[in-house]
Amino acid sequence: MNGGDEVAAAPAGPPQSLDWKFSQVFGERTAGEEVQEVDIISAIEFDKTGDHLATGDRGGRVVLFERTDTKDHGVPRRDLERMEYPIGRHPEFRYKTEFQSHEPEFDYLKSLEIEEKINKIRWCQTANGALFLLSTNDKTIKFWKVQEKKVKKISDMNLDPSKAVGNGSIASSSTPKLCLANGGSPDRSYNYLGNDFSFPPGGLPSLRLPVVTSQETNLVARCRRVYAHAHDYHINSVSNNSDGETFISADDLRINLWNLEISNQSFNIVDVKPANMEDLTEVITSAEFHPTHCNTLAYSSSKGSIRVIDLRQSALCDSHAKLFEEPEAPGSRSFFTEIIASISDIKFARDGRYILSRDYMTLKLWDINMDSGPVATFQVHEYLRPKLCDLYENDSIFDKFECCLSGDGLRVATGSYSNLFRVFGCAPGSTEATTLEASKNPMRRQVQTPSRPSRSLSSITRVVRRGAENPGVDANGNAFDFTTKLLHLAWHPTENSIACAAANSLYMYYA
């Protein structure tokens, strides 16, 4: 259906570079418009089918988008595919609904403010046409159901509805009080009915059932469960299990296992908290379940290692089944080595064979069957290496960039500064390394950057690394802007389409 699949099927040669085009933007900024802090997008996630997209923002809102190009053409999809449809056919989304998922809170016991910012969104199994998702801020995970509900418009009441409306919602129950000789609460009047009143065998013909007249529906989001009070530290990940009934939540030091239906208890399955907090050297930065093996999960650490654990082995998984880390290159150690080694995000590929990890400078692809080192390493913004000192001073070095894989597993993508993101081909032999800008003209950057000879950095690199690119000056000669960082992005599960967040704007691209 897309380029990637076709090329994968052909045995000869690596897939070709994709030609990325702008598709859509939501919440585009007009020139000079200031971005409101609460509007900045903090999470993006496609659902399993790719028909829905959710974003979360710092204001605690979740916005849902739905795909329009598959549903609304009126022609069955199969016919569409048979037709010579214009090449421009690509996933298109429209705003569906939004809801306030989290509110700012205050923990009075610990005197801590709890931000409403959405840290992660995960889609759950749909049922009966209703959408389900998990959203989390630093402390509390919530389970949401978004569903079309009939707008109630009742007619044919037994009692005059105008009276009832005038007296508010409890009016109808207060009416009988006036009429009953013995007065009392409505409950008592019912009891009186149940015990003493005898109905004629044919029933009472004057009674009638209310009739719902309106056929209108609207989307309603309802919070079904709240999973709270299980994390002492900030939650960085939630991830669903393939069994459809459990999920994990990870904070800096612990990973807890929940049942979706039980919100008042969870099981601690990983605990890296040392007995003495002064001995703390490593924290959990991200965790994810294997896409199909219900007993396997991976978590990454601030020291640059990925641990895969097997839930079958023991109840508390303090010992890992597999450890993936890259040995430090001798002599290359500097003050920043440990900081930039910290992994900000990991993702399983769809087949579960590979794990993609992002640290500050690189993307690494790991084969779950090979723990000696990554199978591929991609330099994201090598030109920043001389600037690490500045990045440390303005705290940018602690930015947490996410990463994603294409559904076919042939490409990987991650964000950078100046609203740039990069797409790399990871099929054997591929040299694809594209830089795109989150704007209406994504390729602007690449077209205009002349290749420069000053590639001194490549001499340091141990293995063959691709993607080293020009230093931090953009086309107009401006220095790279560390404030416009592209942290969050997601790849459509079945097609070559990427959604990414530049501050408050959601940009979508396709190839």
Binding site: A127, K150, L159, S172, L180, G194, G202, G244, R312
Partner: protein, 586 residues
């Protein structure tokens, strides 16, 4: 707008509120659905109310849950069993909602209705419903269908039976793990309705599918059904089909599966009979007792007595007892605790000699465990060992354990041991108790924690019941009454409380001569809380003592209190006076 006669107002409101904005009112109406049905009559209930409810399926879960429950008992309101099939459509929709508890209730109600339906109706409407749900687009419908086969199957004609078995087998291989879990959960009760020849072929192949599922959660439930399924089979078939599976599961990679096996194993033993048990299941159980995962050992240890009861004593002594010894020094306190809670039950199984030789040392070491729960669990089952070897052998080790628990710094531990004191007293006898434990019981009355003082007061009463008023007069009452002079009013209150508990046990004479004066005296206390508690205690004494005593002693005291400056004291005093008046009148 319809005009409703006045007497019908309440029922009219009830009906209108089926669609009220306020969920509480809707719930209220649904809970009274039977009243509405009676008001409408059977025919209109069938033709209007039930279709109305069928459309009402996007309501809040609480309302849907209530509706699912009400419909389960609705047969009388729609015109009896011959009209029961009109109830199926609304329940069918409820079987497809996303909320698990609503679906489960709807399935339960459908089963209840189906069990009463006539065979022809079952074939014409119930079975098609099951088939529709089993072929449902969403997994929710398919999950619900699994629970309905046991009702549908028995009345189906032969061809349909074959079809139903095929459908169930499909459900066991469904794409969604939720459906497979439901199929695994319900396999046992479906199998119970199936004829023996099909049981061995069809059901066993479904069972095999489930036991080899990728998802641990499905395999877990398959294990859970093992025992139930095994009991349906002939012992030799069970040994041939279930036994290998359970032995395999006992070595499963997943600790949760092994945990399930540990919980189920003794039931499987019952199903397969003694010989396969000895050959295959005892070794499997021994492995589980020595499992790497503490959770598995906890489950296995907790079943050790039940397992031994099935075995003959020699096997138990030869194979199980060595493991028990190891478990008593297990590194996990929870394992030791689980063992301690059941190990006393092994004494009757092993007999006197083996108990003294082998079990006693284990009891003793567990009684010295560093973890209070372990010691408590041993003490709580003391009566079982008493029957076999008598308490004498244990008593020397028991005392330090009890004293230590009695002084534990966690109040919950102290509370737990207090609860066992009457049991200990009855097992150990008066003599032992007087020497060693009497002082402890008094000490608890002065504990820092209210719950302990409260439990101690209760304990004093139970001891008086156990050993009788004469003993209590000698060993409890004087000590308790002494404490009424404690400088702390909260402790004085505890004594008042103890007195009110002791009085009914001690009888009228002792109450009048010993207890009452103390209470009357306490009415002069400077703390109002004491005074109004005196009023309460006096009220409780009124039925126990003689009428003349009430007149002469209690009422004057209450009258005085009813003029107290403190409002609460006056309130309780006048309340007590009122009840004394009532007693006099009657």
């Amino acid at each position: 707008m319809a005009m409703i006669d006045e007497p019908l107002y309440p029922i009219a409101v009830l009906i209108d509120e089926l669609k009220n904005e306020d969920i509480q009112l809707r719930l209220n109406s649904i809970r009274r659905l039977s009243t509405i049905a009676r008001a409408l009559g059977e025919e209109r209930t069938r033709k209007e109310l039930i279709p109305f409810l069928s459309e009402n399926n996007d309501d809040d879960d609480e309302v849907l849950l209530a509706m699912a429950e009400e419909l389960g008992v609705f047969i009388p309101y729609v015109g009896g069993v011959q009209c029961a099939n009109v109830l199926l459509p609304p329940l069918e929709t409820l079987c497809t909602v996303e909320e698990t508890c609503v679906r489960e209730k709807a399935v339960e109600s459908l089963c209840r209705i189906g069990a009463q339906m006539m065979e022809q109706d079952l074939v014409e409407s119930f079975i098609p419903l099951v088939k529709r749900l089993a072929a449902g687009e969403w997994f929710t419908a398919r999950v619900s269908s699994c629970g309905l086969f046991r009702i549908a199957y028995p009345s189906a004609p032969e061809a349909l039976k074959t079809e139903l078995r095929a459908i169930y087998s499909q459900l066991c291989q469904d794409d969604m793990p939720m459906v497979r879990r439901s199929a695994a959960t319900n396999l046992g009760n479906f199998a119970a309705t199936i004829e023996a020849p099909h049981l061995k072929v069809d059901i066993m192949s479904m069972f095999d599918d489930l036991t080899q599922d990728d998802q641990d959660s499905v395999r877990l439930l398959a294990v859970e059904g093992c025992a139930a399924l095994g009991k349906l089979l002939e012992p030799q078939d069970c040994a041939a089909h279930i036994l290998p599976v359970i032995v395999n599961f006992s070595q499963d990679k997943s600790w949760r599966v092994r945990y399930m096996v540990a919980n189920q194993l003794y039931e499987v033993c019952e199903a397969v009979g003694p010989e396969p048990t000895r050959l295959d299941l005892v070794p499997a159980y021994v492995c589980l007792l020595r499992d790497n995962e503490a959770e598995v050992r906890i489950a296995a240890a907790g079943k050790v007595t039940k397992f031994c009861r099935i075995l003959n004593p020699e096997l138990a002594i030869q194979h199980i007892l060595p493991c028990v010894k190891e478990l008593s020094t297990d590194s996990s306190q929870h394992v030791r605790s689980a063992l301690a809670s059941v190990i006393m039950g092994m004494a009757p199984v092993l007999g006197k000699d083996a108990t003294i030789e082998q079990l006693l040392p284990i009891f003793l070491s567990l009684l010295k465990d560093e973890f209070p729960d372990v010691r408590l669990n041993i003490i709580s089952k003391l009566d079982q060992v008493n029957q076999v070897i008598g308490i004498d052998l244990l008593s020397q080790s028991l005392l330090p354990a009890i004293v230590e628990l009695a002084e534990d710094r966690h109040w919950r531990v102290r509370l737990a041991i207090i609860e066992y004191i009457p049991l200990l007293a009855s097992q150990l006898g008066v003599g032992f108790f007087d020497d060693k434990l009497g002082a402890l019981c008094m000490q608890w009355l002065k504990d820092k924690v209210y719950s302990i003082r409260d439990a101690a007061a209760n304990n004093v009463k139970r001891l008086a019941e156990e050993f009788g008023p004469d003993w209590a007069m000698q060993h409890i009452v004087p000590q308790v009454l002494d404490m009424i002079n404690n400088p702390h009013y909260l402790h004085r209150m505890t004594i008042l409380h103890s007195i009110s508990l002791l009085a009914p046990v001690m009888g009228s004479d002792i109450t009048c001569s010993k207890l009452l004066p103390v209470v009357i005296n306490a009415s002069k206390d400077r703390v109002p809380n004491m005074k109004f508690n005196v009023a309460k205690v006096l009220q409780s004494l009124i039925p126990i003592v003689d009428q003349s005593v009430v007149e002469k002693k209690i009422r004057p005291c209450l009258v005085e209190l009813s003029e107290d400056p403190d409002v609460d004291v006056r309130f309780f005093a006048s309340q007590a006076l009122e009840s004394s008046n009532q007693v006099m009148m009657s």
